[in-house]
């Protein structure tokens, strides 16, 4: 118990520091110049009259906006604040510090300029329209913290209608890093996905996308069991008609999965399963050790809820799990979106992609899994960590290469060219921060 209260004290301290520093720095991002200004004469080049030339060229060919502006390195982080972190529906203003934080990660980890756009609307139709209206300004759009099932229809519609890549991190980011971790966990326990039984606990944004990527990776639909807050999804559940109206994505899972026709709750879902992937309610105690012990031998347990996993890693291990992952950085195997989204957009932007497909997500997952694998897999090392920053260059190049192969790229580059581009952009972003800090232009933390 003492470690829990210690942890609470630590969290409180970090929260207070965060509030103080947000006030001190007045946010975390601003606009900086990337071209030289030696004299006011330069303005005639960067602005009028000189700027008319690139402007007219773009008027003839909109794709030249990637050549003559920063559009090709700029994405919008679009949110309505309807489901922010674990805080729930806090609205667009309260979402802003989170979106600025995301922007910081995009720049520092991926060299991507990501601008927060929080909007005062809540309907799926208006979010779609807003994203489409914004697309001339940006090379991509990251949807963030939008509640389910609205996020599914917004992403689905934009994947059809948008000419720039649209990504919903809570769905695709989480699903991609989960698949990467799972690949290595399967490898460690000598399993094949297509012969495994998987239990997904939780049926929100992350789980629905994870299911899709699992199927694409070869898991037969009937080998998956999905459990939501009302229990196991199956075709005869009483609430299915209502789901068809309200959440057709979850409805499809109920119809297509669970070949064994299991009924019940998490306990029953885990019985005999090889793999448990839980993105449900924060624990502990959501998943009981007894239930893990009824899984198959050498089971794989991902308890991804934050801040407290559905089951503590040690409990899961003691109950027989061979490989355990959580969402937390203080345990081994952190399944963290930040290993994915900066690289996915780095790769998508560098080939000027039109879309981010599930296959591109799997390319990212493969790259991430391989990066950990070549450095040696153990049950406490199935994923790399953010400080191994070169992983982003490999992952970005893999994503870009897949986009080219799928004919979704506006320009073609070799994988090594893409890696070099990513390396330059990411190291430049990191070095700029270093220089600005050294020069005192980013002031030191006070106190």
């Amino acid at each position: 118990m003492s470690s829990v209260s210690q942890e609470e004290a630590e969290t409180k301290k970090t929260s207070e520091l965060s509030l103080r520093l947000h006030e001190y720095y007045k946010g975390k991002i601003e606009v900086e110049l990337k071209c030289p200004v030696s004299s006011f004469q330069d303005f005639s080049v960067w602005y009028t009259p000189g700027v008319a030339k690139p402007s007219l060229a773009i008027a003839d060919d909109a794709d030249l906006s990637y050549e003559y502006t920063n559009r090709g390195n700029l994405i919008a982080i679009l949110s309505d604040g309807s489901r922010v972190l674990g805080l729930g529906k806090v609205g667009p203003y309260a979402a802003l510090p989170v979106m600025e934080g995301k922007s910081l990660l995009y720049k520092y980890l991926g060299g991507v300029d990501a601008y927060p756009i929080v909007v005062g609307t809540e309907t799926a139709e208006e979010l779609v329209r807003t994203a489409l209206y914004l697309s001339p300004s940006f090379g991509g759009i990251n949807l963030e913290d939008i509640e389910a099932p609205k996020c599914f229809s917004v992403l689905e519609q934009l994947r059809k209608d948008s000419t720039i890549p649209v990504w919903h991190d809570d769905q695709q980011g989480t699903a991609t890093v989960t698949i990467a971790a799972l690949k290595n966990a399967l490898n460690l326990t000598s399993r094949k996905l297509k012969e495994s039984k998987v239990a997904l606990v939780g049926a929100g944004a992350a789980s629905v996308a994870t299911a899709r990527l699992l199927f694409l990776s070869g898991l037969p639909k009937e080998s998956l069991i999905v459990c939501d807050s009302h229990g196991i999804l199956h075709p005869e559940r009483e609430d299915l008609d209502k789901l068809q109206l309200r959440n057709p994505w979850k409805y499809s899972l109920a119809i297509e999965t669970n070949g064994e026709r299991k009924k019940g709750g998490i306990k029953e879902a885990l019985e005999g399963a090889d793999i448990c992937i839980s993105a449900a309610a924060p624990g502990p105690g959501v998943i009981k050790p007894d239930w893990v012990s009824k899984m198959s031998k050498m089971s794989i347990v991902f308890a991804l809820a934050n801040p407290v996993p559905e089951i503590w890693p040690r409990e899961a291990k003691n109950a027989g799990a061979a490989t355990v992952a959580t969402g937390r950085s203080d345990f081994p195997n952190q399944v963290n979106n930040s290993l994915v989204f900066p690289a996915v957009f780095r790769g998508a932007l560098d080939v000027r992609a039109r879309s981010i497909t599930d296959e591109m997500c799997l390319a990212a997952a493969d790259s991430l899994a391989s990066y950990a694998e070549v450095r040696g897999l153990t049950d406490t090392h199935i994923l790399p960590t953010m400080d191994e920053w070169e992983l982003y260059t490999y992952e970005a190049a893999a994503v870009g290469t897949k986009a080219i192969a799928q004919n979704l790229a506006r320009r073609t580059k070799s994988e090594s060219e893409l890696r070099d581009m990513a390396y330059r952009k990411i190291s430049s972003a990191r070095n700029k921060v270093k220089v600005l800090m050294k020069e005192g232009l980013i002031p030191n933390v006070p106190g």
Binding site: P235, L240, D241, K242, L245, A254, E256
Partner: protein, 163 residues
Amino acid sequence: MIGKLSKQEVILRRAKESDAEKILDLLLRLKRLNEEFDPLYKVAEDASTVGIKYVRDAINSDDCLVVVAQHGTKIVGVIKVDFRKRIFYEPRSDAHIVDLYVMPEYRRNKYGQKLIDYVMKEAKDHGGIVTVEFPSANKISTDFYEKLGFRPILNTYVRHPVE
């Protein structure tokens, strides 16, 4: 995905009294779905008690037609039709579909359409028309029936009486 049995093995037949409880289960699912469309479709607490009589009466009545879709031993779909007289209009008879329900996993396999086709044949023998009722807000039903060639003919409006 429909279990181990193939699609062809779903058969359509007239309902028997022994089907009543299974049919009621399906109808209650339909009525509970209707709760989504209007507060005035709130399912009554004694719905299953009164419902079983409703189903039995319909199965035994010459003025009704109840057809089920059966898969193995399971009843997976049902249609209930009232034959109504049209006193002032021609044609004189109307096969009016009151309830149509197909279990979720059997949807998108045209069993709904086949149940309606069954009714269509009977209606043709009666020389009448086929009509259907469902909540106005049920967009899925609207799309389904329009795809099958139905068109709106009658509006039903509602208000509470003056207190």
